[in-house]
């Protein structure tokens, strides 16, 4: 559970799991997932996971961003209108 501070106004609207969410400029898609309280599940056991390192090392923030699966959400800056979904289980291969 995470919260914004007034020092950094939330000016960018993204959609996390279809729900609108405002995040500050500079926030990554992973920050949006944390603010929304949305986690992913693993490909193997389906265990719940959420972002751990936020610096591109652990791959725990995997998400589907604007329709592209298995993105490292912590390395993708949130942009207006971005659609973010947590990666649930293994990515399903298919046409982009």
């Amino acid at each position: 559970m995470f919260a914004l501070r007034p020092e950094r106004p939330a000016t960018i609207e993204v959609a996390v799991e279809g729900q609108p969410l405002r995040v500050p400029e500079g926030a990554s898609a992973a920050v949006a997932l944390l603010l929304a309280g949305i986690g992913r599940t693993t490909a193997l056991s389906g265990a719940p996971r959420a972002p751990y390192c936020l610096m591109g090392v652990c791959f725990e923030c995997l998400a589907e961003i604007d329709g592209v699966a298995n993105q490292q959400a912590c390395m993708v800056p949130a942009r207006p209108g971005m659609r973010i979904r947590a990666q649930r289980g293994a990515r399903r291969a298919g046409p982009a």
Binding site: M1, F2, A3, L4, R5, E7, R8, V23, P24, E25, G26, A27, S28, V31, L34, L35, G39, T42, L44, S45, A47, P48, R49, A50, P51, Y52, C53, L54, M55, G56, V57, C58, F59, E60, L62, V68, N70, Q72, C74, M75, P77, A96
Partner: protein, 448 residues
């Protein structure tokens, strides 16, 4: 596109190297996975330097970033190096969803550090993050944990994050320090050498004073995270506390993913309990066209990294014929001295905050490889069955073959195999990662 020098990473080392190399007439490109210059230490400093929660020691980064912006370097943010052929001088880069190829006569890896994994029971639960992640939330978005927060582990970053969270109006409910009793006395033998680093000591003491009023336990053992589906409690030998967020930290280690993939020589650093690429004083590696600078070569902090960046930039200018040997020696002197000064406290810090044995080689039930969900017990069993090192272990358990490609489990897996074999950890070897260094899609590859 063709360059004299390609620099990977825009932290203090990469920025300083670029400034130096451009000043000597080299054509330089800087590839940065981040969205703006600064690296991890000065991440988002252009946006967040004014945030009083982050403090003056963060805001100083603005000067270096400003000099970098003004230097005339070709800077490419959000660009991921996924393959490097150092013999041909070719770099494959993923940016904006497309791959491209650059050519460079020389490559400098300034890829910095990563936090050491802290494998404790329950560390995969949502709500458990690294202390560095907590700081990244603050720097990049002004975001703070909500609900009771516990900071656990040890090292300078732990108290810094505690102080920053408190300033941001979200003080930790508890700090659990894992430094064993008696460690302070052992570290004191390094104190005489620390006089030259009294400025840094002053910074550290300032943080200790600022955070002394926060609830704190020392000598904490058997730390674990508990909860159904997410973190609910933090438990240790002698107590427990309800928690929504647990921020873990047991120091940082060099990010060796690319240097390992290139097959560069590495040496075991017993004091810092990590591998570091072998370099000379100027950062030159075992490959004639590849150099390294900054924390990627061993943890020294941003001032040492900045000095190392200048040295690597000078060396590139020398090797590419823009500086003679006398000029190199003259210009390198002050940076060699600056790096020595920046490193005087390191032996004390390494001794004081050496990771506990249980963090290096955790108990059987603990997840060692988060990607493939492999426990420490499974790794030990595979070692008993004949997995002699991390690369053999891949065939047994797939450790190191998940999305993170072994970035996070490498230290743990090596320590566990060494324990079972009864040999020093440096003798069991290390993962040999392969390109692509970060995953890319077939469509991205086909677009090359």
């Amino acid at each position: 596109m063709s360059y004299d020098l390609a620099i990977i990473g825009a932290g203090p080392a990469g920025m300083a190297a670029a400034i130096e190399a451009v000043a000597h007439g080299l054509r330089v490109v800087v590839l940065d996975e981040g969205g703006g210059p600064g690296g991890q230490i000065f991440r988002a400093v252009e946006q967040a330097a004014g945030d009083p929660a982050l403090g003056a020691d963060y805001a100083v980064g603005r000067a270096l970033v400003g000099a970098f912006r003004a230097a005339g370097v070709e800077y490419r943010p959000l660009a991921t190096l996924w393959h490097l052929d150092p013999d041909a001088g070719l770099l494959s880069v993923l940016a904006e969803g497309r791959t491209s190829t650059l050519a460079a006569r020389r490559v400098l890896l300034a890829t910095g550090a990563q936090e050491r994994p802290v494998p404790i029971p329950g560390w995969t639960l949502p709500g458990v993050l690294t202390a560095g992640a907590g700081q990244i939330l603050l720097k990049t978005a002004g975001v703070v944990p909500q609900g009771p927060t516990v900071l656990a582990g040890q090292g300078p970053l732990l108290r810094l994050v505690a102080a920053q969270l408190a300033r941001a109006g979200a003080p930790p409910a508890l700090i659990l320090e894992t430094t064993p009793p008696g460690r302070r006395r052992a570290a004191l033998r390094h104190l005489p050498g620390a006089w030259a680093g009294r400025g840094l000591v002053g910074q550290g003491l300032g943080l200790l004073l600022e955070t002394r009023g926060l609830p704190r336990r020392q000598g904490v053992r058997e730390l674990r995270a508990e909860g159904e589906g997410r973190l609910q409690r933090v438990v240790w030998d002698g107590g427990s506390i309800a928690a929504a967020t647990l921020l873990l930290h047991e120091g940082v280690i060099p990010a060796t993913h690319i240097s390992r993939a290139l097959g560069l020589d590495h040496a075991w650093d017993a004091a810092q309990q990590c591998w570091r690429p072998v370099t000379d004083a100027f950062g030159a590696s075992s490959h004639a066209q590849v150099a390294l600078a900054g924390d990627a070569t061993g943890i020294g902090g941003w001032e040492a990294a900045m000095a190392a960046g200048h040295l690597a930039g000078l060396d590139a200018a020398y090797r590419l014929g823009r500086l003679d040997s006398a000029g190199l020696a003259y210009r390198a002197g002050p940076w060699l001295a600056a790096r020595r000064r920046a490193l005087v406290l390191r032996p004390l810090l390494d001794a004081l905050y050496a990771p506990p044995a249980a963090v290096l080689a955790p108990a059987d039930a603990v997840i060692a490889c988060r990607c493939e969900e492999v426990t420490a017990g499974q790794v030990r069993q595979a070692a008993r069955l004949g997995a002699t090192g991390p690369n053999q272990l891949k065939a047994y358990l797939r450790c190191g073959m998940g999305p993170c490609q072994g970035r996070l489990c490498a230290p743990t897996v090596a320590a566990l195999i060494a324990e079972v074999r009864g040999v020093p950890v440096e003798l069991v070897g290390a993962y040999r990662p392969r390109a692509p260094y970060k995953p890319l899609t077939v469509a991205q590859l086909a677009g090359l």
